[in-house]
Symmetry: D3
Subunit: 245 residues, 6 copies
Amino acid sequence: MDLSDATWTDVRDVDTDLAVVPVGSTEQHGPHAPLGTDVIGAEAVTDAAVDRTDREVVRAPAIPIGIAEEHRQFPGTMWVSEDTFRSYVREAVESLAHHGFERVVLVNGHGGNVDALREVGGNLTRSGAAYAVPFTWFEAVGEHSADMGHGGPLETALLRHVDPELIREDRIEAAQEGRADGWGEWTSHTNLAYDAAEFTDNGVVGDPGNGDERRGEELLELAADALVRLLETIVERDVSRPERR
Amino acid sequence: MDLSDATWTDVRDVDTDLAVVPVGSTEQHGPHAPLGTDVIGAEAVTDAAVDRTDREVVRAPAIPIGIAEEHRQFPGTMWVSEDTFRSYVREAVESLAHHGFERVVLVNGHGGNVDALREVGGNLTRSGAAYAVPFTWFEAVGEHSADMGHGGPLETALLRHVDPELIREDRIEAAQEGRADGWGEWTSHTNLAYDAAEFTDNGVVGDPGNGDERRGEELLELAADALVRLLETIVERDVSRPERR
Amino acid sequence: MDLSDATWTDVRDVDTDLAVVPVGSTEQHGPHAPLGTDVIGAEAVTDAAVDRTDREVVRAPAIPIGIAEEHRQFPGTMWVSEDTFRSYVREAVESLAHHGFERVVLVNGHGGNVDALREVGGNLTRSGAAYAVPFTWFEAVGEHSADMGHGGPLETALLRHVDPELIREDRIEAAQEGRADGWGEWTSHTNLAYDAAEFTDNGVVGDPGNGDERRGEELLELAADALVRLLETIVERDVSRPERR
Amino acid sequence: MDLSDATWTDVRDVDTDLAVVPVGSTEQHGPHAPLGTDVIGAEAVTDAAVDRTDREVVRAPAIPIGIAEEHRQFPGTMWVSEDTFRSYVREAVESLAHHGFERVVLVNGHGGNVDALREVGGNLTRSGAAYAVPFTWFEAVGEHSADMGHGGPLETALLRHVDPELIREDRIEAAQEGRADGWGEWTSHTNLAYDAAEFTDNGVVGDPGNGDERRGEELLELAADALVRLLETIVERDVSRPERR
Amino acid sequence: MDLSDATWTDVRDVDTDLAVVPVGSTEQHGPHAPLGTDVIGAEAVTDAAVDRTDREVVRAPAIPIGIAEEHRQFPGTMWVSEDTFRSYVREAVESLAHHGFERVVLVNGHGGNVDALREVGGNLTRSGAAYAVPFTWFEAVGEHSADMGHGGPLETALLRHVDPELIREDRIEAAQEGRADGWGEWTSHTNLAYDAAEFTDNGVVGDPGNGDERRGEELLELAADALVRLLETIVERDVSRPERR
Amino acid sequence: MDLSDATWTDVRDVDTDLAVVPVGSTEQHGPHAPLGTDVIGAEAVTDAAVDRTDREVVRAPAIPIGIAEEHRQFPGTMWVSEDTFRSYVREAVESLAHHGFERVVLVNGHGGNVDALREVGGNLTRSGAAYAVPFTWFEAVGEHSADMGHGGPLETALLRHVDPELIREDRIEAAQEGRADGWGEWTSHTNLAYDAAEFTDNGVVGDPGNGDERRGEELLELAADALVRLLETIVERDVSRPERR
């Protein structure tokens, strides 16, 4: 059930404690992919999973602005501070839990949100407000996950499948030329860079040429299946906190 | 320019300091109108105005969850605290201003957000971070504004025009039966109620029967024209702060 | 019972759950009216109402500094941030509620405090700490309310009645010359101004010549009567929160 | 110059950078002394000093509610949290400094405020916002200071001089009977008590019989003289911060 | 039981509700004494007391960085804000109380921490989270306490006894030459100074020549004995909060 | 240079902008390893690296209490909230930067601190206060890193080398029996567990039998060498922020 389209009487009549909240970011994804890439990805995976599962799941509107100051050198990137993002997500989930939707998956499309969502999930869960876990789609696509960059093969492929007009095919070559091969600058397993502009000229990491529409279709299937499995597992899980030892 | 669809290079090449941020709420709007009503309204007005103006305007993604705890007795209503909402909006605007979009209209579709947006606009403006003002569409539709309720004639009309399938026509009668005529419970010009459920049985205020599609079309035109005038005025305005007296 | 003058044993022996807290501001009111105008007004109305009602009411000391940064260009104006003001008022009310004074009217004399007091009242009420509502005296004086400005006819009249020496009669003409006719600068129902100095030269809005002592007397009566009605209504009101729908 | 009574044009024309802010508390002072004792004391000392000095001094309105949770077992006691109190005082002083009143004495009448005011003064001073120091009147009355209790000889004497009707002479005996001799319960130079009710039955510490009106007059003179000396010293002091060593 | 060296199974098997937390500061102590002086002192007194008492006491790790901005002109001084320090100590104690160690002494070695620790203790105690009191060793060494300075006779003596290599004996003369005799600059019982560098050239207050190793031994004995008495008293104390009057 | 042992004059005379701050946690590490394991590890690696490098490095005291609520079911575990931990570390680093030590490595011994330290480093770096990066020793020991558990082979080995008495050899068998093989409970690449007690009976993850003293020696060497390389890299790195694109 899509919360935005439903009425409160529809929600009243639904029988589930399961909800999903897509979480994205509005930030640069190279010269060829839109600033909304991470929102689009999170929503696409969410909707595909909700379609596939037999479970009743309440689907909240997507949170469109996340933790993305690392892209601030690239025009159009929006962000909020980590504290504000955590509060916004936590309180949004608490309002869902207020209505009994107490098992929540935060379906995430942006690497910069990962740590914050895990922290939010832990605090919600330990306080007893809700049981909430983040699911980041590109971590759950099998061997493809190793190819994750930024505006790279995975995200470009997914968009080519989901909303192909948003990929500027005539700029793929430019995207490839200014790209970095990997995320960050590493010494002794420490990333020395804090801003993407320290290691990528045009904001791209990974080769967007390696992600055609069929790969996008496969990614969406893999991610949606993984999310369905997660929902199935969560709905059965004992989420009470362990006893003192 | 829709920020979500644009690339950072598109944004880099745009020549304007004007931006609009639709701000809504996901909350009950009676048995006949969707929880997303306020987001849909804010986006519809924003997009109509951006279409009509000759000015280049950057259009941010809509903020979907606002200040709506007053509707918490109605299932599906989402909300965040006033503090968190203010921080989220303020920092989102600051990130726009970081890229030079320093004149910002917060296009609002929810009464509960009004005070907070005014506070955010004042703090952004006085601090010098950006010049930002809230525009609440249903306050700017001439004599219609006097009819504003909640899930009432104006919002129902607007949705009938913008996305008619979202209005459950078969529940209009029920919506009318459980509605309140006015917002709040007043004594000595003081509203004694804090929760909508104190004065409306089904969340509706005003008669949704009084808002057909043609009224919705007129509302959209009036609101969009008002927003265009506001943008025109703001772009010319001297927004520097006054001198000490 | 005036809390400042009472002893704790006096307070222990009182039998009521009703309290009033005057809330003002120390800010410019033109060349003719004192910075303390809003405190004086809030206290005068509070005391007149406490005198008139048969109910036992605990009267707290006035909070003298409010939300007034919009007047910062005028020397002597004091203010605190919205967050700090809200915390100060909320916690002060919580301390009253700790002693059983759980129905509280915040008697307000300053327009800039209105939104914040409503927010505080809502949070106190929803959390169950206390039932608290703001009452802003100049909104409750019948048709006079339409004349409200700033250092204008209403406030000047009230002070002429309450403490006439504080009005500098020899500066009324100067006050009239530099005044604005209305509050703010409006386009499309949006106030573009955030600082009073954007639209008034000397801080005055409205004509202080239109407020003689007799009008002040009438204003005080009207406001005090309205407040008495509010107290009577509140004391009988069921302030428990509504059930989930 | 009393800020509350002055107009902004009066304040504009004053030539000083010196301000005083009385700070009190509304809290129990035994069965014989009013809850407002600490505000009355702070204001009396402030006004006596302003009268005696030749310096132009801006006198802010008194802050009436302080840090007094330690008296919460006694009805009528009001308080705010330490954090809120510090913010309220700090921001109030910052608003004075905004107009050039950058040397500020916080004239304090309540022991529970002492630590917080010192912290606020330090933060204001180190940040460069203002130079501010707390002055607690009963610490500056020579050998009398050793007699300071709570609702005891000093405060009772001061009120007998300043506003004798507020002392309930017919309850002095009761006040004496339930009093404690000293503040706190001490072991190894550590006060084990956090609430006054742990060591005083009726909230009184020290013998209010030992404070007649003449002692009150002397206390006021001593405190006012001390405050005048402090103002004289501050106005000449180099308040710039020291160099790095 | 030293918590850092114990295993969780050891802690599980201990039968006490008593804990001690050494709290220090890393800050200048003149040219002759180390920046760690306050941590070393707090730990030495803590360990001596734990050794002497028959009670089982859980000994937490020392908190090494405190409130010391007043020494910021002297290189190497570390500090955090008062708010952060209070939160860190409070939450650390709450975690001890979570395991049943609900009577806690904060053994303090730094004057700048005193007010904050008292505030933390009060908030923990009133909220019911734990009963916690600060103990500052140099306030509890009898007549020696009058000699307390900064890097002066007491601290220098204690270190000469506890860890003599840390005192640079060849710089004692220099320490004496640049020292101040007393802490602060006082007018009307108000300290006008906020930074130590306002009144001491080299950071020293008091004569470090007056503190030999034997005095240090005596100080440690006195402080440890006082702390043992405090622990004995606390373990027997009724720490429930008083009834409403 | 160890800051705790140095005097401020020593620090003044040092010529470097490089500092290291060991960061640990006081938390359960199974029945065989001490609660202080993470502090000991962080300090050992820090000190070994400082010994090995030719660079002058300022070594701050270790921060002993971190983010460890996930171990709260095991007695003795201490923790603070994520917010408080971040503030404490950030402000401590800012105080170092105040003295010119503006390139800082946070040498971390606890997995639960990793995300928070990265966030703190980013905020310090982007604000310009300091350039700070976290280094977590067990991520930088080559192929050994894959064996990292909790109280498992790596930490047990390191302690056997660094402070062998702290490992209870007679409890290794018990540690092995109650241990988990891996950290967390995973579905679709999402860890469903928030508390360690959800997946380990005795708090151990990994086999502590696989970590003898020689392995500990090698780990210390590998980690120290990695940290030295990091320090060398950082000291040469251009840490200015990139230009706007």
